[in-house]
């Protein structure tokens, strides 16, 4: 073999090694208790399932090859089509495995119910509003709001209430918690926490238009001091999230940078939930003819 040919597997190996870094982005690199529990559940279910797929993966090639036509030493029983013990063997173990899985499933679906409050300190309340193509986070107790940046205190549970100002979206924090839909006129909930200070990613997983791929935001977990400092700095922001600012934000747009609001109109989330908050996106549509694809990706939105 020429030495050049060795390079190909080497290159492939390097690519695979480089690619495994991708798993750091998701649930296999958990940054909070919920994601960690999901990962453990994943490993557990996978281990149980090895008993299901293992025999098939071994038997299929083995049987097919052993009983090939050209093998004259293999048995041939063309009329053999039923056997009671074998029937038991192919029906009972799968049923048993599903029963075992079902027990774990029942338990873990309840413990990992996104609506179930996390134990420990009182949760930080955050209200999330899904917009085209950004996320607004309102901190009702603190009276501040952000867009495209979720700041949370590390080590303290967070309780998120979600709704949508537009179409259905799916909220995911890959390293912190599972998905939950945000739908207009309805409130869904998500409980999660971060172990330690640090930045992770949040995103919308449900396609919602031309800016979908850019609908990502940073989740910043901070220690208590850092969070207090951030809160003070945000409260000092002169921007107010009122009806006009909300209307401007609700147009379809991709923001170049996250926004912060020092004050928020009270009950804004409730008004969005009640569908009583005037929204801007419907206006956008008047500008577009029958061909919707001519819609501009980024409209000039300035909430400041």
């Amino acid at each position: 073999m020429r030495p050049g040919l060795f390079r190909l597997p080497l290159l492939a190996g390097c690519l695979v090694l480089a690619g495994c870094g991708a798993l750091d982005r998701g649930v296999f690199s958990p940054a909070g208790p919920i994601a960690e529990a999901i990962r453990d559940e994943f490993v557990l279910v996978s281990l149980i399932l090895l008993f299901v797929i293992g025999p098939v993966l071994i038997l299929v090639p083995l049987v097919a090859w052993h009983y090939r036509l050209s093998n004259t030493r293999s048995a041939y029983r063309p009329q053999w089509g039923f056997n009671w013990p074998l029937e038991g063997l192919i029906w009972i173990p799968p049923i048993a495995i599903v029963v075992v899985l079902a027990v774990f499933l029942w338990r873990d679906t309840h413990t990992l119910d996104p609506y179930r409050p996390l134990p420990g300190a009182a949760a930080l309340e955050v209200q999330a509003v899904a917009m085209d193509w950004k996320w607004m986070f309102i901190y009702p107790e603190q009276g501040v709001a952000t867009v495209n940046r979720l700041v949370i205190p590390a080590g303290r549970p967070v309780h998120l209430s979600l709704t949508s100002a537009t179409v259905m979206q799916s909220f995911l924090l890959p390293r912190l918690a599972g998905q939950i839909y945000a739908m207009a006129g309805m409130r869904t909930q998500l409980n999660f926490a971060a172990y330690a200070p640090g930045r992770t990613l949040g995103e919308n997983m449900q396609f919602n238009g031309m800016g979908f791929q850019k609908e990502k935001f940073a989740v910043d977990a901070m220690d208590a001091a850092g969070f207090a400092q951030w809160l003070a700095a945000t409260r000092a922001e002169p921007n107010r999230l009122d009806a006009a600012a909300y209307e401007a934000l609700s147009h379809r747009s991709v923001l170049p940078a996250p926004l912060a609001f020092g004050t928020v109109e009270p009950d804004l989330f409730q008004h969005v939930l009640d569908l009583s908050q005037p929204s801007g996106h419907a206006l956008d549509l008047r500008h577009f003819g029958p061909l919707r694809n001519s819609m501009p990706m980024e409209t000039a939105t300035h909430a400041h």
Binding site: G19, A22, R25, V56, P114, G209
Partner: protein, 704 residues
């Protein structure tokens, strides 16, 4: 005016303007994305012109019309379904490659397809693969094979069969027209509102989707009724239910699923049309609408649909594995029970498509457990197929290779299916590439491999010559590794949090996996090319590979007991069935290839243009609705209704084949059979194979 029409033009053309044509858009704003769109439109138009010119030049219009388009023969309609599926498969697979290419090159870069086009690509890819590739393919196989397997001369309702095909073809035509006129929906194959409502998706895209899907779902419902009635009422004497070939059982279950699962889809697309056309509020954000109703109704169709797609392939595998293992099916009763169990359970799991909608843990857990329960009968089937090979004589023909690849690949898909059925795990990977990888892992081995295996298995029956096995094996060598390369990286990317349907990627760590997936997609499209090459080579060399006697694989069902291709009337005399694997036992007891005691006249349905008229009229009516060309919608809608009303009043819809003609054809074929040299299994993939199998006792003698 380029963007709006007024006055007379508006009455005549509705919303149709110059800007609807991709060529005009590309002229006004030339960029790669528009040019690709134009190229696709040009392929459709040039392809249509080329086909038209070719048929005219060959002078084959009359032949096509009388022998194919207006035919009510289940075999011809079946073949037309498969041809339609092949054309649509080619388009949707090209789209898949474009999708994979875009994601591979758009890593912190714009790529070459803009978001609007990308969204149309994944929407058309999914819609076509489900409704206009998989559905026609399996319907075609069922159409061709089931009447032959149960010993019938046609379907229960031959005219409805034609109607079903032409409605599906009209839907497929709308999909193709959308490439050249206007644009398609960007809302994905499931078309979730409120995104597909007027408030968020103006334009004609969702309307194309609604009407194409509505036509297809109506067509599929008629197929379901037809196949179920055929199997219930048209079985040959002695063919009781527990003697049915397994393909008939899976076809029966599929058709029952079609009857019950298609109406929710038709209803939900029409309700969405009500929102879009009449200002109703079924699924809007405002006015009391609730999109959750859409999601529930869609998946009330959508989950049984998965089994509509997979069960016929299970039937094919049962036939293929049994035939190419030279052995009766292991666990026939188990397989029948498992098939029925899957069909029933498929209606109890739809909620697992939206575990993340915020319903309580009890509900999620119940549906999660119901979903895992389907794994039991499915696992039983896998073992039944393994034990069918056990103590058999396995021949590695391309169909068999696809079946073996299915057993392994599908099991891995089942593994990830159980993962997704566990609600907390679904929370993590829902709407990610993990999900995309999973359902491709079920549907490519679970439907496509099965359909291709069935096509290769029954092709010699339908056309009288074998398909080239070498090119068949090359196809396997492309499809199977191509699948693993294309989709296993997506599992990992999904676990890394990569969303599905994303036009751009912002994490360079995803790059190697996206490259691997692209490579896999290219390998799979090479697989499709090899299938076309195989067809070409086989037609070219057909003289050497004819199997006129009709039983090239020493197979077991009644369909192999007649000539290849079978006469129009299938059976000169309706067979009497005494056992499962009827033809196998007849061969064994020296009862095969015998002339009848006496022949009778056979009554067959006459050709009818009504199906074609109904399909064309419905297609044009829907085109009018899409572009708000009201006169067109009204005119052709009335024509369609008139066709439905007029047809039952037509007299003289049957014709009689005289007994002498039946006898002459049958005796000519029997003479061929008696003159043919029986082929041993070792040589069935050679020119020696004339479709007469060397009998079973010889094989036993060899062993003894």
């Amino acid at each position: 005016m380029l963007t709006e029409t007024h006055g007379v033009a508006h009455v005549l053309l509705g919303n149709l303007t110059w800007a609807a044509l991709p060529f005009v858009r590309a002229w006004r704003d030339p960029n790669v994305s528009e040019i690709i769109g134009t190229g696709a439109g040009a392929v459709v138009i040039l392809g249509a012109i080329a086909m038209f010119a070719l048929v005219t030049w060959l002078g084959k219009w009359r032949y096509l019309w009388t022998e194919w388009f207006t035919s009510l023969d289940h075999k011809k309609i079946g073949i037309m379904y498969v041809v339609l599926a092949g054309v649509m498969l080619a388009r949707a697979l090209v789209e898949a490659v474009l999708i994979r290419t875009q994601q591979a090159v758009a890593i912190n870069a714009p790529g070459y397809v803009e978001p609007g086009h990308f969204a149309q690509l994944f929407t058309t890819h999914g819609s076509i693969m489900v409704f206009f590739m998989a559905m026609p393919f399996l319907t075609g196989l069922i159409n061709y094979v089931v009447p032959l397997q149960i010993g019938a001369r046609d379907m229960a309702f031959p005219y409805m069969n034609s109607v079903g095909f032409w409605l599906t073809a009209a839907g497929a035509a709308l999909m193709m027209v959308s490439l050249a006129v206007g644009e398609f929906s960007t809302g994905g194959w499931s078309g979730y509102p409120p995104y597909t409502e007027l408030a968020f998706s103006g334009g004609v895209g969702p309307d194309y989707w609604i009407w194409a899907i509505s036509l297809s779902s109506l067509g599929s419902m008629t197929v379901g009724i037809n196949v179920a009635c055929t199997i219930f009422k048209m079985r040959a004497p002695g063919m009781n239910f527990m003697r049915l070939p397994l393909f008939c059982w899976t076809s029966l279950c599929t058709s029952i699923l079609m009857i019950f699962a298609m109406p929710p889809l038709t209803a939900v697309t029409l309700l969405l049309a009500g929102d879009r056309y009449l200002g109703m509020h079924f699924f809007t954000d405002d006015g009391g609408g609730n999109m959750m109703n859409y999601v529930n109704m869609f998946w009330l169709f959508g989950h049984p649909e998965v089994y509509i797609l997979i069960l016929p392939a299970f039937g094919v595998y049962s036939e293929v594995i049994s035939a190419f293992s030279s052995k009766e099916l292991y666990g026939y009763t188990s397989l029948v029970l498992a098939t029925m169990a899957i069909a029933v359970l498929s209606f109890t799991v739809w909620l697992h498509h939206f575990f993340t909608m915020g319903q309580g843990a009890d509900v999620n857990a119940v549906f999660g457990i119901a979903t895992m329960t389907i794994g039991i009968p499915t696992g039983v089937k896998i073992y039944d197929w393994i034990f069918t090979m056990f103590r058999g004589e396995v021949r590695f023909t391309p169909s068999m290779l696809f079946s073996i690849a299915f057993l392994v690949t599908f099991t891995l898909g089942g593994f990830t299916g159980i993962i997704l059925a566990t609600p907390p795990l679904d929370y993590a990977v829902h709407d990610s590439l993990f999900l995309v990888a999973h359902f491709h892992n079920m549907l490519i081995p679970g439907t496509l491999y099965g359909m291709v295996a069935g096509y290769m298995f029954w092709f010699p029956k339908a056309f009288g010559f074998r398909l080239n096995e070498r090119w068949g094996r090359i196809a396997v060598a492309c499809w199977v590794p191509g699948f693993f390369l294309a989709f296993f990286p997506l599992y990992l990317l999904g676990l890394a949090g990569m969303a599905r349907r994303t036009q751009a990627v912002f994490d360079p760590a995803f790059r190697p996996w996206l490259y691997a997936a692209l490579l896999g997609a290219l390998l799979m499209i090479s697989g499709l090319v090899t299938l076309f090459v195989q067809l070409y080579v086989s037609i070219r060399d057909r003289a050497a590979n004819r199997v006129p006697v009709g039983d090239p694989w020493d197979a077991r069902g009644l369909e192999w007991s007649v000539a290849a291709p079978p006469p129009e009337w299938n059976f000169a005399t309706i067979p009497h069935v005494g056992d499962r694997d009827a033809f196998y036992w007849r061969k064994r007891n020296k009862g095969a290839y015998r002339a009848a005691d006496h022949y009778r006249d056979i009554v067959l349905p006459k050709n009818s243009a009504c199906g074609v008229v109904l399909g064309v009229a419905s297609g044009l009516c829907c085109f009018g609705l899409i572009w708000h060309i009201w006169w067109m919608a009204l005119l052709f809608g009335l024509l369609a209704v008139a066709t439905i009303i007029v047809r039952p009043f037509m007299r003289d819809v049957t014709r009689v084949i005289p007994a002498v003609e039946v006898e002459a054809v049958d005796r000519a074929w029997l003479a061929q059979a008696h003159a043919a040299r029986p082929v041993p299994r070792e040589e069935e993939q050679s020119s020696l194979n004339q479709g007469l199998a060397e009998g079973f006792p010889e094989l036993v003698a060899k062993r003894a």
